[in-house]
Amino acid sequence: MNKQCLSDEILMSVDKPARYIGNEVNSVVKDPKKTDIRFCMCFPDVYEVGMSHLGIQILYDMFNRREDTWCERVYSPWPDMALKLKENKIPLFALESQDPVKDFDFLGITLQYEMCYSNILQVLDLSEIPFHSNERGENCPIVIGGGPCAYNPEPIADFFDLFYIGEGETVYNELLDIYKENRKNGGGRRRFLELAAGVEGIYVPSLYHPEYNDDGTLSAFVADSPAAPAKIKRQVQYDLDNTYYPEKPIVPYIRAIQDRVVLEIQRGCIRGCRFCQAGMVYRPLRERNVDYLKQLAKKMIESTGYEEISLSSLSSSDYSCLPELVNFLIDEFKEKGVNISLPSLRIDAFALDVMSKVQDIKKSSITFAPEAGTQRMRNVINKGLTEENILQGSMDAFKCGWNKVKLYFMLGLPTETEDDVKGIAYLSNEIAKEYYTLPKEQRNGRVEITTSTSFFVPKPFTPFQWAPMAKKETFLANQHLLHETIKEQINARSIKYNWHDPETTVIEALLARGDRKLCRVIEEVYRSGGVFEAWSEFFKLERWDEAMNNSGLSYDFYTTRERKEDELFPWDFIDIGVTKKFLRREYERGLSATVTPNCRVSCSGCGANTEGTCPARQSGI
């Protein structure tokens, strides 16, 4: 068992000390004297959130397969522990070895959502690593960022030495080999960064500088060194059957948010919803072989003892072997007491049959995500779900015994009118109406419809990256309108409306399409006490207001401003396969509410098919 870095006294004085002790089942311990590279993977949020993340488990497994590398983990200490660390001058440590993070060769930080950016600085601060890349000495770890937010790394560019753009299975081995070689040759940090810039998919922010027009928009993104390529090519793991996947995922002692085996069945999506970044940056669709998945599922359950297994993908209903896989899981595991957790499936006969086998119909709900209240609006966002689909699906579910329905919508979508907002209420009501057409004997009590709205945030690399976000006043007015309209419906008592506070949305939008000028703002927010801002109990808009003010920047420039067609975006230096031309075409089709069919129906020439592996292409359309 490892020797604990923290004393009993400190551990007993904080909430959930198990967050900091390591020693989890399937965690990897190596002899540091026998390894050449020490890699510390970080999820910048609390342990229970970080341990739910599949990406780190994949990379952890991948790095630890290298004999010369030991990969460990670190998570953001909860504020009570962060205080203890500072008070006692204890530098932040990795869980497995309990050694200080600052002594590692690499600190890899995964960027899953913008609201965790201030936690990046918390981790650097507690690790005693300088915030800025250019302030780090030879003995500092190389700080590398990856994950979906790396598709626009500019707002945090100053804090990272490298970014890894795209899927992590491809070029890390090359990068680590270069690191070792460089060290052997006596090359230092600067030299390593220049060499790293030559690896496809690696972005070295310090080798570029942005130039701005008077209006604040980007005029140029300039490479300062011949080592720095003009475009960074996003990494794609094409073969998902012969690559890394954790057969022995780490099992935390305390309850993580996702407390189950996660089976990633495919990457990419054919639907082309216009608001969705993942749907664009993970193209083309790549499935994992169903027999491989069956074997993986068995191995993972055996090595962990988890009681539940879930399927992960962007649109599981589109996985070509879904019935075979799901039936296998039910037959293999149900008897052993392992439950199957299904993501939101398209509600059809198959889904209902499967759900009735794995869920308690009386307690579970069926879920639809129309995202928009009218067909016109759904066409704008290219979400193919029709009212008929929804009503039919609901009715089928009601006949099987379900009486709970969850509906997800977004407010503030481009071209939204009051009719679209009210449409959410009408649709919710129609579903309730359907329920009550069933004869009383067939009904299971009242129907419970839970309608939730969140706020639309335009993201980079989507057709809507040019779109303005709605103003805060509009969000609030429309929430209010929707609430009132729901109350007016005949079945109002069957409909519950859940809404959100728009404050964090403004910051999410600011950072999503931000530029390098925001680095200063994020730093100031952290220094004024901003941390764990994804948590409502800690978020304070005032810190951001003040920091933005002090930097002379305006929210609206980043959030509510519609972009010009030919505007240079801070993320345009990244090549994601899908072309900007395609995205712009989709934006214009969206504004005119024109539907683009999914990839299996016809190919829209998005540009992602560089290897010829696209499902549409393969089926000869």
Binding site: M1, N23, G337
Partner: protein, 260 residues
């Protein structure tokens, strides 16, 4: 068949609380491949019963969990399968097979059997001869009182208690404790404590009332002792360790693993 497993909890794993320990064992059983009886419903879980929850921060070599197997195995087979599924910090000490039905009585389980538990409360760091003397002298006077009135605080209630009545045996070292807390001869040889004694250590062994009717935790003694004797030490200076748990029947005290 009903199975009772005795296990230890050591090192950093003392920071895992009871609920998390329960969930840990669910996974251990799943990994072991043993066919446990499960609950019904859509989220079935293996039916297990722990003798007594162990607080966060306490180590132990006397924890118990009962479960039911759907088919028969030998004690050796069970021990091997479970050991292979355990991780460092939780150790398998004993596997026993109690009768699961006593004629005329309801099904007996570990939790209902617990009457007493042995604890060791000991100083974390080595101390000087003077400190040692002070602590042991204080303990002698403290324990000589006829009554030790305290207030036992539960989540929502408080109750007045005479702590002295709840201390069935005590000792300032293991030998003394074995003598004062005599177990029936057939169990005496299995009476051990995982924590080695050193010359500069201070050790308080206690046998306290435990179980569903009256559960006295070692912290209760420690807090009261330090306060009443006005000692320049705090609770944080001591570690706590549970040694074993017992059922009291007509013959005397029986460790849970031996209850048939």
């Amino acid at each position: 068949m009903l199975v009772r497993v005795k296990f230890s909890k050591q090192g950093a794993l003392k920071f895992i609380g009871h609920l998390d320990t329960m969930r840990y064992f669910q996974k251990v059983f799943s990994r072991s491949g043993l066919p446990l009886r499960f609950s019904q419903g859509f989220n079935p879980h293996p039916l297990m019963e722990f003798a007594s929850p162990l607080g966060v921060g306490i180590t132990s070599n006397g924890e118990y969990v009962d479960f039911e197997l759907l088919s028969n195995f030998t004690e050796t087979e069970i021990a091997e399968k479970i050991s292979n599924a355990l991780s460092e910090g939780i150790g398998l000490l004993k596997v026993s097979v109690p009768d699961d039905r006593v004629p005329g009585k309801k099904k007996i389980s570990a939790m209902s059997l617990v009457d007493y538990a042995d604890y060791l409360v000991y100083l974390k760091r080595p101390c000087s001869k003077d400190e040692r003397q002070m602590l042991y002298d204080a303990f002698d006077s403290y324990i000589r009182n006829d009554k030790l009135p305290i207030i036992l605080k539960a989540k929502t209630t408080e109750r007045e208690l005479d702590l002295k009545e709840s201390i069935k045996a005590y000792g300032r070292n293991f030998a003394e404790f074995s003598e004062s807390g005599k177990l029936l001869p057939e169990y005496a040889s299995c009476f051990t404590c995982d924590i080695p004694e050193t010359e500069s250590g201070v050790y308080f062994y206690l046998r306290l009332s435990a179980g569903s009717s009256l559960n006295v935790k070692p912290e209760v003694f420690l807090e009261d002792f330090l306060e009443k004797m006005n000692l320049p030490f705090t609770e944080a200076d001591f570690n706590r360790h549970r040694i074993d748990m017992y059922h009291l029947d007509e013959r005397g005290l029986i460790p849970l693993w031996a209850v048939k």
